[in-house]
Symmetry: C2
């Protein structure tokens, strides 16, 4: 009897749409109104201790799980933050995403992830779906986006953080560092070591604008050098992998007879170049100095250890999270800049 009546009113006829426990159920059991439960959930201190206790009990006996979808609709802004990166497989972005996720989940925010594969139109599509979640914030990678993307975001009024790059006009906020400056630092380092025939080995630079900027910053600085030095930029159209590093090194060796200094657009490429040098009998750093970018896991351990530039994806992630939380809490400081420069550090090791 009891069971069947229960069944009837909880299981709507057709779709066995699973009798989810709602806030209403909690309210009934706790003998308060639904809005009190809602209030309790959002600001536990705002309800009387007695009521709070009842509600807490009801929640746990019923196994209530709040429905964030409904909450998001009612509040006109869901608790999701959409992050769009070129690729999650990339260790840099994985680190940043991971950090952002940790920081935001502590505040009850969820992370929705998308990857654009370095395509601006892909990115636009992702922004579109992102926006359809009425997100609390959107995080993009870099400052290069197509016009439509910028327009959509601007029109939405949602806080936007562009990360991993500064030096242009952000849509809203930006956290990162200057890529040309990274290239310049690398160039200065090699020049200071007396290297004069330089090469920049990059991958996918037709799409990866940030890598391209590191390359051009490098080239500029070389031109500006006190002593005359030459510099060539070599691009591998495919992904930035260890394998690409090997290929690029061989091309550089062929194209530049006196090659004595190399900057790679990231440490994976540098590792490949290092392995290839070993294979070709090119002594590092005696004959050729090598500088990477990223300070990945292996960079300190490889042989010789790799001189590299650390951008700190972790710090970027933390700052992104901080800006997002400030925006959400309405604490966007008027006076303070909404562009955060996380800088970069050149870590000198054996390879140079």
């Amino acid at each position: 009897m009891d069971a069947s009546s229960d069944l009837q009113n909880r299981v709507p006829r057709k779709r066995r749409k699973m009798q989810r426990v709602t806030m209403m159920d909690v309210a009934k059991l706790a003998q308060v109104s639904p809005s009190t439960v809602s209030l309790y959930l959002r600001k536990p201190g705002a309800v009387s201790p007695a009521a709070g206790q009842e509600i807490a009990r009801a929640i746990s006996t019923l196994g209530y799980v709040p429905n964030l979808v409904a909450g998001g609709l009612a509040a006109a802004s869901s608790k999701v933050v959409s992050i769009i990166v070129p690729s999650i497989r990339n260790a840099f972005f994985a680190e940043t995403v991971s950090t952002i996720q940790s920081e935001l989940s502590a505040e009850g925010l969820q992370v929705i992830l998308g990857h654009s594969e370095y395509g601006e139109d892909q990115e636009e599509a992702l922004v579109r779906t992102a926006l359809s979640w009425a997100p609390a914030a959107v995080v993009l990678t870099g400052l290069s986006h197509n016009a439509e993307t910028r327009k959509l975001l601007q029109a939405s009024g949602v806080p936007v953080v562009e990360m991993w790059e500064i030096g242009g006009k952000p849509i809203d906020m930006a956290v990162g560092f200057s890529h040309p400056q990274v290239g310049a630092s690398a160039a200065r380092h090699l020049l200071s070591k007396g290297r004069r025939s330089l090469a920049f080995l990059g991958a996918r630079m037709q799409e990866d604008h940030r890598a391209a900027k590191r390359a051009s910053g490098f080239a500029e600085e070389t031109k500006r050098a006190a002593e005359p030095a030459t510099c060539e930029i070599i691009n591998h159209p495919g992904a930035a992998t260890v394998e690409a590093g090997s290929l690029l090194l061989n091309r550089a060796l062929r194209q530049i007879p006196n090659l004595d200094g190399i900057v790679c657009s990231n440490d994976l490429i540098a590792l490949g170049a290092l392995f290839e040098c070993q294979r070709q009998g090119v002594a590092v750093p005696e004959r050729v100095s090598l500088v990477g970018f990223g300070d990945l896991d292996f960079s300190a351990s490889c042989i010789p250890s790799l001189t590299t530039i650390r951008p700190s994806g972790d710090l970027i992630g933390r700052e992104v999270a901080r800006l997002i939380l400030a925006s959400i809490h309405g604490e966007r400081p008027e006076g303070t800049s909404l562009v955060v420069d996380t800088g970069h550090v050149l870590i000198e090791r054996r390879s140079s």
Copy 2:
């Protein structure tokens, strides 16, 4: 003038009240009812061409973006798939997540990401929030979860896929391979090379149950060998990094005098071990054979190239996506097993 008006409409005073374009607006402009628009959006073929055209025009002139939050609430199931991995920084999971994301986004599903840092209670919390999105599916890593997690998931009725491991009873569906078998394959390979003093170098095995299973599969197989062979398992409590590989190798060298065969619980550790061998003057493969796991980017390029076992995170991702889509479309084949074994392949290279 222009700037100030721009500012005004971009930064609403306090709460972003924002007049979003709704389906209603589209309906009005297209002179049809909202439900027709809704129908058109879900099954364009089901409305008359004339109406369809009007609606399409209205959508584009208005710049309408559907609100998935509202849709999810009404449909009682949102278009999100929640994926919970131990860590996104881990290249294996990054690859799988990336693949799942690509496959699902083609079907209009979003991916929400969480990482448990190898903690079962953390995982439970993530499952709780995941469920509060009324997700279309939930993806977990591995088969080890606490009782509460299993209960929550089971009670929810949401399709669940456990990935990267099979060999136990899944909550619902599972895609992966047997870790003990991976360990056994590695053991057989080394034994076949005449190696008799073996070591398994692993990291974080107190939490990473899958690595621990590879280790025990390895140990079992060694015991079972025709010729007598010894095997030690050495664990590094911290994360599985290149650095850890170096440390572990040194410990192994110290503990096992005649050490001649090593299996690492992943390629990062193997790379660190390789570097350390080079530093210590231990010839690979002459004195010690080395086998990794994962077939990461660098494994084919390093010196000597690394013998490793490829689990194919990509294939796992594709299968996970396939099962999810089948579940959602209600095509779960009764007869077919809901456990997919993606197997593993030993790739023999120079290090053994």
